[in-house]
């Protein structure tokens, strides 16, 4: 219950905070929840991703799994971002995926399967974006498989532009929404 309250409060604070912590890709991407205190914006490691879809997914999930996901987001980040109408992984995305692969390998016993979601910004048609989201998810999957993650463990799913993590209609929102999210199961 505590979590929920934090989630709603934080979504506004996050917007102001994300540019002020240089060097932390996760923050810039809006994966962490930040709180505003007198000491400025602080990372609140106990809270889940501010992604409403991640938080919804965790509703009712077993606590070990929720802990695993929290751990995953804190240590590796759970997503990579893409350029406009692109499914290629830039250097930053590749680095994030290496962190993700490292975490998964280290926690092999805890990770039963992996779902990679592909998402798009709203600047495209519904059907084209469903196809593009599929390409993004698969692009991330192939990279992880190249790093030694078992392909049989990974499912992909495209949501097209249906699940924007940032509901605004700005360049920065579109950037945040063009993503592949790695979900551990």
């Amino acid at each position: 219950m505590m979590k929920k309250a934090l989630l709603t409060v934080s979504s506004v604070a996050l917007l102001a905070a994300c540019s002020s912590v240089p060097g932390n890709g996760d923050l810039a991407q809006g994966t962490y929840v930040t709180g505003t205190t007198t000491s400025g914006s602080v990372l609140m490691p106990d809270t889940l991703s501010q992604d409403p879809f991640v938080s919804e997914m965790n509703d009712g999930a077993p606590s070990e799994l929720v802990d695993l996901r929290k751990d995953f987001i804190r240590r590796a980040g759970d997503r990579v971002h893409f350029g406009f109408d692109s499914a290629s992984l830039d250097a930053e995305a590749q680095e994030s995926l290496r962190d993700i692969a490292k975490f998964i390998k280290k926690n092999e016993g805890r990770v039963k399967s992996i779902t990679i979601e592909g998402h798009c910004d709203e600047r495209g048609t519904r059907e084209y974006n469903l196809a593009l989201g599929d390409r993004r998810a698969v692009s991330a999957k192939k990279y992880l498989v190249g790093l030694g993650i078992d392909a049989a463990k990974i499912n992909t799913i495209s949501y097209g532009k249906e699940r924007p993590v940032d509901p605004r209609h700005t360049d920065s929102a579109w950037q945040r929404n063009r993503r592949a999210v790695v979900v551990l199961n």
Partner: protein, 452 residues
């Protein structure tokens, strides 16, 4: 196949319309008064629509509602100037007794006059019927242009009103109408306590009447389309956690999965004969969405495209011989046409910007599309030879065009920068932009064929 579920209690099914009988009792005279649909600057035709009269207050009330519906249909075309009832000189009683006194209608500048009667048969029975008789007159020539009688169950009064509207449209324009048709769309709302926009499969008459939502909103549903006989809707749903295509049989409310194909299953579209479905699948070649068709009887899949990038949004030509689709094979999304066996692929669009979501007109002469150019989205049309392109709209995000059954009007989704999303209609001339009345926000419209 495996997944079958009753979605709703079928209330207003289309098959019941077959209880309708039509009687034409006059050879319509050649209309001298005529509307040319290609002339966007023509003055609207002044038309006087008098209330269909009956013998009881119930009949008069129904007659008034029906003419109100007809009046709204005609007004929405932008082709007619509906003369206010208050300007009428000849009274309802005089009309009934003497027939039209054309001089009085000419005095108020009417070109065309509609009169009619309505009778409710067996009002005390469990299945009362109605008989509607109308006559359409050329006021200047003092000639009858059309006359017909419809008999049908009382509950189908809206359908009869739409049929009469189509008759008037056809008489005065020489083209098929589009009023007796429905639109399936995705209703969007966010009930209290929900974090995510709820999307439901909904249908309505083309004028926004007879609204009904067919799914409960628990699963994300997208891109519905009617079958050619309007009895089935195919749509995409994440009901089982994966994007799959489902067929919804309207008369029974039964829902079946088209197939549980690995990966993305999207962009469904019926063939004009209703025997096949074109769609986008990724199957085993993941990350590579391709256009497929499926023979619905044999349940056999056929892969039509083999390009490594995105191929999606297939739409059949009305003769069923070709498919237009969307591909990024040339580096940016453009439109292509191929034969239905996947051969003879030809690029259709070379213009600036990015093209999406092609939809072939039921007349065959044009293909509607979405174009993204300089930060704006447009609905446009192009001929199948690719020689002439025309943009009809401009918006923050216009998409998912669908044609009226007669190929004269396009309905589409317009999302404003505020996020507000509704379904709009525009004439092929580029005029008469209008928001369709829906109880919630709305997207992904698809127009049915004419319902008989």
């Amino acid at each position: 196949m495996k997944y079958m579920k009753k979605l709703f209690t079928p209330a207003l099914t289309l098959s019941t319309f077959f209880m309708l009988s039509v009687l034409m009792f006059a050879q319509p005279a050649q209309a001298l008064v005529k509307i040319r649909l290609t002339d966007a600057n023509a003055d609207p035709m002044p038309i006087a629509l008098t209330n269909f009269s009956g013998a009881t207050s119930e009949e008069n009330d129904l007659g008034k509602r029906m003419v109100g519906l007809i009046s709204n249909n005609l007004k929405n075309t932008g082709l007619f100037n509906n003369i206010s009832e208050r300007a009428f000189l000849q009274s309802d009683d005089s009309l009934r007794l003497n027939g039209p006194i054309f001089k009085e209608w000419r005095l108020i500048n009417a070109d065309v006059l509609l009169v009619g009667t309505i009778e409710i048969i067996g009002p005390e029975t469990s299945q009362p019927k109605m008989r509607v008789v109308y006559r359409l007159y050329d006021v200047h020539d003092e000639k009858q242009l059309a006359a017909k009688a419809y008999t049908a169950s009382l509950e189908f009064w809206r359908h009869i009103g739409h049929r009469v509207s189509d008759d008037i449209y056809t008489t005065l324009t020489g083209e098929k109408g589009y009023f007796a048709s429905r639109i399936v769309y995705i209703g969007e709302d966010a009930p209290r306590g929900m974090k995510i926009v709820r999307k439901r499969l909904c249908v309505m008459d083309q004028d926004g009447g007879s609204q009904q939502c067919l799914t409960d909103g628990k699963a994300l549903v997208l891109t519905p389309r009617f079958s050619p006989n309007s009895q089935t809707i195919i749509y995409m749903s994440y009901a089982n956690g994966k994007p799959r295509l489902y067929l919804l049989d309207l008369p029974t409310g039964e829902q079946t999965i088209l197939g549980d194909f690995e990966g993305l299953n999207s962009s469904p579209q019926f063939s004009p004969d209703g025997e096949s479905v074109a769609m986008t699948l990724t199957m085993g070649h993941e990350g590579n969405p391709e256009v497929y068709t499926m023979d619905l009887k044999k349940r056999k899949l056929k892969r039509l495209t083999t390009y490594r990038g995105i191929d999606t949004s297939p739409s059949y030509s009305p003769d069923g011989k070709k498919i237009v689709f969307n591909s990024d094979r040339a580096g940016k999304p453009a439109l292509y046409i191929m034969d239905t066996d996947g051969n003879r692929v030809q690029r259709l669009t070379y213009g600036e910007g990015r093209y999406y979501a092609p939809t072939w007109s039921p007349r065959g002469d044009l293909i509607a599309f979405v174009k993204q150019l300089n930060g704006k989205f447009h609905i446009g049309v192009i001929d199948p030879e690719g020689t002439e392109e025309r943009l009809l709209t401009e918006g923050y995000l216009d998409e998912s065009p669908t044609w009226s059954p007669n190929g004269r009007v396009i309905v589409f989704t317009r999302q404003q920068r505020s996020g507000d999303t509704h379904v709009y209609s525009i004439d092929l001339t580029g005029y008469n932009l209008r928001r369709l009345p829906t109880p919630t926000q709305a997207s992904d419209p698809a127009w049915s064929p004419l319902i008989k």
